[in-house]
Amino acid sequence: MMLSSLPPFALFFIGAVAVGFTKGLPRKVLVLAIPLLGGLNLWFNVDPGLHLQFQFLGEYTVTPFRADKLSLLFGYLFHLAAFLGFLYALHLGDGDVDGAVAEEDQTGGDTAGLQHVSAMLYAGSALGAVFAGDFITLFVFWELLALTSVFLIWARNSERSYATGFRYLIIHVVSGVLLLSGALMLANRTGSIEFGHIAGELGSDGSGGLIAAGPGGWILLIAFGIKAGFPLAHNWITESYPESTPTGAVFLSAFTTKVAVYALARGFGGADALIYIGTAMTFFPIFYAVLENDLRRVLGYSMINQIGFMVAGIGIGTALAVNGAVAHAFADVIFKGLLFMAMGAVMTMTGRTKGTDLGGLYKTMPFTATLCIVGAMAISAFPFFSAFVTKSMIMVAAIEEHHYIVWLFMLFASAGVLEHAGIKIPFFSFFAHDSGIRAKEPPKNMLIAMSIGAVLCVLIGMFPRQLYALLPMEMDYHPYDTTHVLVQLQLLCFGALGFITLMKSGVYPDEKRAVHIDAEILYRKLAPWLVRTVGGAVARIDAYVRASVLELVGSVLQVAAKAHGPVGPLARSWPTGSMVLWVAILLVAYLLFYL
C-alpha cells in the first residue's frame, strides 16, 4: 500500500498545517484522527526495512524512513502518546485558557491553536527522529524537536516561561550542533552517515569500546546525553517542564527524552560508562525531589530518575537489559504521562501546583485522585502495574552481570521513587492538610485520557507478554517469580509502614520529614545524615559548579564586549589613515615573511 512508504512524520507535518487552518470541531477530529490513523498504518502496514532512501551530495545515503523492531516500538509508543496527549488537550479552544486560572504572572490569550500545531509538529519530529536511518535526518529532527516543543513552554505566556523556553532552546540547539559535529567526525572516519551502533559491546559483559569510537563517538554521546538529561545536563528538564502549560507538559514528558533514550539504545548499547551515568541519574534527583515543593518539578526529577534506569539498562547491554530499558521507556511514557496529566488537571482546576498550596482535593476530585494513585502505583512498581514488569528486567540484568553495587543503588532509588512520586505526589495534592480548595473534576476529555493511561498501566502490568513480544531482542523472562514479587512487596510495604507510622505518631510528614520515610526502610538512621550531608553536598557542588561556570561565561563575555562592542577596537569606524597604516603593516609583514 502507498501509505507504507510514507514516513510517519509526514502525516503529522501535513496534519499540523491542516490543524492550523481549522477551528472548533473539525480541528478536534483532526488532532485525534492523525495519531490514530498514523498508528494504525504503522501497526498494520509497515514492516521492518528501509522504506525511503536517496543519495545526498553524491556520496552519502540519506534514509529518512528506516523501520526495525526498535524504531517501530518507539513509533507505536509515540503515536499512542500523541493520541493521549491530544485527547487530554482536546478541551482547549473552548474558550478556556490553558492553565491560566489564578496564576498571577499570566497574561492570558487563547493559545490553543498554537499549542495544537506545535504539539503536532513536535510529535512528528519525534517520529522522524526514531525512524531516521542516518545522522543527517536525525540531526534535522533533533533540532526540530527543540524548535517545535519550545512553543509548548512559551504558550504559558509569562515572562518566566519565555526566559525558560529560550534557555531550553539554546541547550537543545547546542545538543544538535554537537550531534552534527560528532556525526561529521564519525562520517569522516567511516565514510558513512548511517545511524547504527556506535560504541559499546552488545550482549556481553566485556568492556565497552567507547574509546574505540573516537572523539566523534564521545561528542555524540554528549549530544544524546544532553537530551536524555545526564547529570549536570539535566537542569533543562526540571526547569522547563514546570514552566510549560498543563497540556504541554504531557507532550514534553513523552517525546524529547524518549528520543534520546532511543538514540542511546541504538548507538551505545553496552557502553559501560552508561551504567554508572544511569545509576547516578537514578539516585541523585531523589534528594532534590524530596526537597522540592512544586509538584510538577518533582515529576521532572522523577523523570530523570526513571531515565536513569533506562540509561543504566542500555549500558549493561545484555538482551534482557536493553529490552528492559526500552520496555521501561514504553511504560514510563504512559505512567509519567498519567502523572503529568493528573497534575495538569489539578493545575487547570486550581491554578496551583505547589505541595503546600494543595491538599484535600480528593473530596471534590475523586476520579482524578484515583487515577493519580494508579499512576503513582505504576511508577512505584507495584506488582500488577507496568513499571514492575519493565524495571525488574533492568534490575535482574544488573544482578546477572554482577553489578551488585549498581543494583543496590537502584534498589535505593526505587524506594526513593515510592516516596517522592508514589506517595508525595498524590498525598500532597489530594490528601494531607485540607487546603480548603473545592475544585471540580477536570473536563471529561482529560478524565478519559487519564483513564486510558491508567488502564494501560494496569494492562501492561498484568499481561506483559504483549509488550515483550514487541521488544527488539530475543529473551526469555518472567517477571512474576516469587523472589521478585516478595522483594518488591517488602520494599513497598515497609515504605508504606514508615509513612503510616509517622502519620499515626503525629509527626506530620511535611516536606522534609517525608524524606525519611523511604530512607528508613533501607538505611534507618543513616537517612537523616544522608539527606543532610549528601543532599546538601550535591546541592553545594552543583551550585558551586554552576556559579563558577556562570562567572567564567560572564568574564569571557565582558572581555568579548570590550573588544567587540560598538566602541571596541574591532568594531569602531577607523580613520582612513589608520586603515592605510594597516595595509602598510600587512605589506611589510608579508614581505618579511616571504623574503
Partner: protein, 491 residues
Amino acid sequence: MSHHLPVLLVVIPLVAAPFAALVNRPRVSWAIALGSAWWAFLAAFALLRQVMADGPIHYALGDWAAPYGIEYVVDPANAWVLLIVGMIAAVVTPYALLSIEREVPDARIPLFYAAFILCMTGLLGIAITGDVFNVFVFLEISSLSAYALIALGRDRRALTASYQYLIMGSVGATFIVIGIGLLYVMTGTLNMADLAQILPELEPNRTIPVAFTFLTVGITLKLALFPLHLWLPNAYTYAPSVVTAFIASTATKVAVYLLLRFFFTIFGASFSFGEMQLDKVLMPLALVAILTMSIVAIYQDNVKRLLAYSSVAQIGYMVLGISLASALGLTAGILHLFNHALMKGALFMAMGCVMYRVGSVRIERMNGLARAMPWTMAAFVAGGLSIIGVPLTVGFISKWYLIQAALEQGLWPVAVVVLVGSLLAVVYVWKVVEVAYFRDLDADADIQEAPLSMLIATWALVLANFWFGIDASATTGVARRAAEVLLGVGS
C-alpha cells in the same frame, strides 16, 4: 552571434550605461538597467552551460592572437562567477525600481542606473578576461562606479564611507597594478595563460615574491579579509539598500575569484602554497575573521551593519576553504561564493524592504515588525537560517563541505571554529528575530508590508536558498569542476 557571446556579455552593458545616463528619465534608465542585467544573467548562464559541456572557450578580442592581443577565457571557475554577478543583478534590478525612488533623489536616478550598469560591467569584465592588465582596467571601472553608488546613500555618512572606500580601494588597486607591473617586468607578458607558463621557468629571484606580496595585500584588501576589512562595514551600512545587496553579493566574490585566478592559475598552487606558504597567512586570518567578526556582528544595533560584519566573517569561510588548498576545500570555498551571494542578497534585500517602509534598519525600530511585515521578516528568518547553516539551506551545504575539507586534513580546531561561527550566527540572527517577533508593535506605528515587486525579488533569492540547499547537485558539480580546473587536474 553565439561565437561572440563572451565579448557581447561585457560590451552590451558597457554601451548601455551611457544611454541610461543620457535619456535622463528615471524609469527608462531603469528599463535599460533591467535589460542589461537580464542580458548578463542569460548570457552568463549560456556560457556556463557551454563551458560545462564543451570545455573552456577562448575568444581573441579583435582577432588579435592570444599573447599579444587581449583574450577572454571562460572556464567553469569564471563562468560560475559571471553567473553569480548576472543572477544577483537580474534579481536586484526589478527590486531597485521602488527602493531607489525612495532612497535616491529623482534627478540622480539615471546617473545611479548608469553607475550600476558600469559596476556590473566592471565585475563581469574582471571575471571574464584572460589578461591581467585588463583585470586592472575593469577593476577600476567597477570600483569607481561603486564609490559613486555608495555615495548616493541618504545618510550623510555615506560620503565619508565612500571616501574611505575610495582611498582603500585605490590603495588596493595600486598594489595590484604594482604586482602586475613587476610580473610584466619579469615575464614580458600580460596574458594569464602565458604568465602561468613562463613563471615556473624563471630563475629564483626576489621580484616574483615581491609581486606576489603586493598582489596578496591588494586582493585581500579588495575582498575585505580581516584586518583589511575596515572600509567595508561603513560602506555597506550607508549605501542605498539596493547597492548594498548588489555589492555585498558580488564585489567581494569577484575579488575572491581574483585571488583564485592569481594564486592557482597564474602562480600555480605549488608555488603559492608550497614555496610561498600562502595558507599559513590566509588560514589564521580567515579563522580570526570568522570568530571576531561574528562576535562584533552580535553587538551591532544597525542591522545592515550587523550583516556587513557577518559578511566579513563569511568571507573568512571562503578564504578558509581556499587556504586548505585541496580539491575539497576549494570546492567548499567556490560553493560558498555562490551560496553566500544567495543568502546575503536575500538578507540585505529584506532589510531594504524594512528601510522602504520604516525608514531605518536600526534594531530598536523593528519592535514587532513581523506583525506588520510578515513576508519581509519571514524572508529575513529564512536567510538567517541559511547563514546559520541549517539543513535544507545552502548554508548547510557550504559548511558541510568546509568541515569535511578541514577534517580531511585532520584540522579539528578548524572544524570547531566553523561550528562556533554557526553558533555565533544563531545569536546575531536571533537578535533580530527576538525584536521582530517577540516584542509588541509600537502602537503609533503605521507600517505596511513592502511592495510586491520588492517582495517577489527578495523571495526569489530566499527560495533559491532552499532550492540549492535541497538539490545541491548542480552547484556542487560546477564548484567541483571549477576547483579541478584551478588545481590543474582534469580539463
